[in-house]
């Protein structure tokens, strides 16, 4: 059993609360990713699970056992550090086998297990090298080897890919997923990169300012964000948010543009309409046509990002609302040209002033029932 339960976990640093009561359960064998911006408390949370930080209050259970006051080496966990922390004076083989050597494991057994881990990570030819003679990706793999050789029930990763270049990062992502499949250990992975979270996680825990903003399966978070923080954190480019008022299912932007939402929301003022870049459609306004002068419907092209396979168009309107819109393939839009934008209202989200998601009356009633 290697289920991890965090029950109202808090952390204080000299009177400042950095982790403010977290309740999370990570199931046995699950790949859980804790994601959030810098300073949200995600690394502190991971270090509390590892036993490198004291828990100010709350309970941490691993495999059903209370671990608050158990030393790190007794928790049957391994950790891969952001800096890798490979001992520079030891060879790759010594680095991987260090934990086993400390336990006075039989030398032949150490060699066998080091070799086994090295084979899995394609490190066999590097076993006699020192870390200084390895590339970034190789060091990363040695750090993982050091973690798996102990056969831990739980492996913790603290932003392990952040020091690698973009190409290696993609490669290591797939390797990590493969390792997880082969090993079946519970993995807790901390990152600030939502792409890593979306691609690898079975469960994402979004942290914001010491709180859990939302947790769930990656696509659930993408499709059903509970607040503007998650809505904007998950997905690249982030979700567009536009302020406005709602009356009789008509959402009026600050510019005066009216959008018909037909889902039956309650009326309200100072709301936020959320829509993802891929759910917007572009309509060119013909030069000199009447609609060009209809300023509440016209948007100005600010920046065009052409990536080949897709293009992102940054738009602004008279009320200084900003929109990012995604187009398939290339586009030859000119900066400063005027366009109209069509909203796919079936994919719009509504949030209140405080950023909490509002549900259509039918859905709210359904949920309440």
């Amino acid at each position: 059993m290697s289920q991890i339960e965090l029950i109202n976990i808090k952390k204080n640093y000299m009177g400042t609360e950095v982790v403010k009561g977290i309740d999370v359960t990570i199931n046995e064998g699950e790949f859980a990713v804790i994601v959030g911006p810098s300073g949200c408390g995600k690394s502190t949370l991971l270090r509390m699970i590892a036993g490198l930080e004291d828990i100010s209050s709350g309970e941490l259970k691993i495999g059903g056992k209370l671990m608050n006051n158990v030393s790190p080496d007794q928790r049957e966990i391994a950790m891969v550090f952001q800096s890798y922390a490979l001992y520079p004076h030891m060879t790759v083989a010594e680095n991987i086998g260090f934990a086993l050597a400390l336990k006075k494991t039989d030398k032949a057994e150490i060699n066998r297990r080091v070799l086994e881990a090295a084979k899995m990570l394609e490190l066999e030819h590097l076993l006699e090298r020192k870390p200084a003679a390895l590339s970034g990706g190789q060091r990363q793999r040695v750090a993982i080897g050091r973690a798996i050789v102990k056969r831990p029930k739980v492996i913790l990763f603290d932003e392990p890919l952040s020091n690698l270049d973009a190409k290696l990062r993609v490669q290591m992502r797939t390797e990590l997923m493969r390792l997880h499949r082969e090993f079946g250990s519970t993995i807790v992975y901390v990152t600030h990169d939502q792409v890593e979270a979306m691609t690898m996680a079975q469960k994402i825990i979004v942290l914001n300012n010491g709180h859990v903003a939302q947790m769930g399966k990656p696509m659930d978070l993408y499709r059903d964000p509970e607040n503007t923080f998650v809505a904007q954190f998950i997905g690249v480019p982030k979700m567009n948010l536009l302020r406005g008022n709602l009356q009789a299912d008509v959402f009026t932007l600050q510019s005066g543009q009216k959008l018909q939402l037909d889902c039956g929301y309650s009326d309200g003022v100072n709301l936020q309409l959320g829509v993802r870049p891929e759910h917007l459609k572009l309509e060119l306004l013909a030069q000199g046509s009447g609609s060009e002068n209809n300023s509440e419907h016209s948007w100005t092209v600010d920046v065009v990002e052409r990536l080949g396979v897709e293009s992102f168009i940054h738009l602004c309107n008279a009320a200084r609302d900003v929109l990012v819109l995604r187009l398939e393939g290339d586009c030859d839009l000119q900066v400063d040209s005027k366009v109209a934008v069509r909203f796919d209202c079936s994919h719009c989200y509504l949030f209140n002033d405080a950023g909490v998601r509002l549900l259509p009356n039918s859905a709210a009633m359904h949920l309440a029932g």
Partner: protein, 309 residues
């Protein structure tokens, strides 16, 4: 500064070379002038007719070294110096290791004031400390002699114990004084060194199941070796060259260290034996050179590669 770029014709290149040659010639002359005393020391040490003048020896002899080791108290001086300075360096390294580590890792408010207080000991000229230190040592000396007298009534044993453990005119006192003198710089070196060793290594070791002692033994000491080498080298060379403290805290001829022995040999009323003195000087110089040669490997060794890419 304005630099004029001229076409590189033959004439300017020649001027450039000749001015460079002049510069090198001057440097060589200055170097020769500086090296002259060392030449004299080495030549005279092997010269059968050594004198106070620089001269090419008629032949080569090692008699001066034999004299020093066989007839005079030379062996005792060398052993005293090696014993006292070696032990003091060892103690300095142990204490500086602990102190430097603690000062590097603590976040307490008193860290900075304490660090400056430590270096202040180094900044104060040693002669200014003689009187208070002597007072303290004298007080401790009375106490330790009381203890020794109560332990044994055999005079010979008392003499021996007193020589070993006295704070004034005893090995222990001199070792402690030397350690105290070298400790501030060593603590600073070690503190700076531990600052550069990320805490991640210790945390990784803790997760690997290492105890405190195992972390120190297998991780911290190997990582800090270049720091220990630097701190040890400075401590050894400084203590080896120290003249003032042995002069103040020893009076028995049996306790004399090399610099004191040299000084006394030079001050003898009868004719000065330059061969003997220069042989002593060569022996006196050697350990520092050897220590440097050993430490150089660690001093130049970088320990990058364990952390990040």
């Amino acid at each position: 500064m304005v630099t004029l770029v001229r076409p590189a014709n033959e004439e300017t290149i020649m001027t450039h070379y000749s001015s460079q040659r002049r510069a090198y010639l001057t440097l060589v002359l200055i170097s020769l002038f500086c090296l002259m005393p060392f030449f004299w020391v080495v030549l005279a040490a092997f010269d059968p007719k050594a004198s106070q003048f620089l001269q090419i020896p008629d032949g080569i002899t090692v008699n001066h070294f034999w004299n020093l080791l066989a007839n005079e108290s030379g062996v005792r001086w060398v052993l005293n110096s090696v014993g006292i300075v070696g032990t003091a360096t060892f103690l300095t390294l142990i204490l500086a290791g602990f102190g430097g580590y603690a000062l590097s890792r603590t976040q307490a408010w008193w860290k900075r004031p304490l660090l400056y207080a430590i270096i202040l000991v180094r900044i104060v000229p040693p002669p200014a400390l003689i009187v208070p230190v002597y007072k303290v040592m004298l007080f401790l000396n009375d106490w330790i002699n009381g203890v020794i007298n109560s332990l044994t009534s055999d005079v010979a044993q008392q003499m021996l114990l007193s020589r070993m453990f006295s704070f004034v005119d005893g090995y222990l006192g001199l070792i402690l004084i030397q350690t105290a003198m070298q400790l501030p710089l060593a603590i600073w070196i070690m503190k700076t060194f531990f600052d550069a060793i990320p805490k991640d290594y210790e945390e990784a070791a803790a997760l690997d199941g290492a105890s405190q002692w195992q972390t120190v033994r297998h991780v911290l000491i190997p990582l800090a070796l270049p720091g220990f080498a630097a701190a040890g080298l400075f401590a050894f060379i400084n203590a080896w060259g120290d003249f003032l403290m042995p002069l103040m805290f020893t009076s028995s001829p049996e306790l004399q260290t090399l610099p004191l022995g040299m000084f006394r040999a030079f001050l003898r009323v009868d004719a000065i034996d330059y061969g003997f003195l220069t042989a002593l000087a060569v022996i006196y110089t050697l350990p520092a050179v050897i220590a440097f040669a050993f430490a150089r490997k660690f001093l130049t060794q970088t320990f990058s590669g364990g952390v990040k890419g």
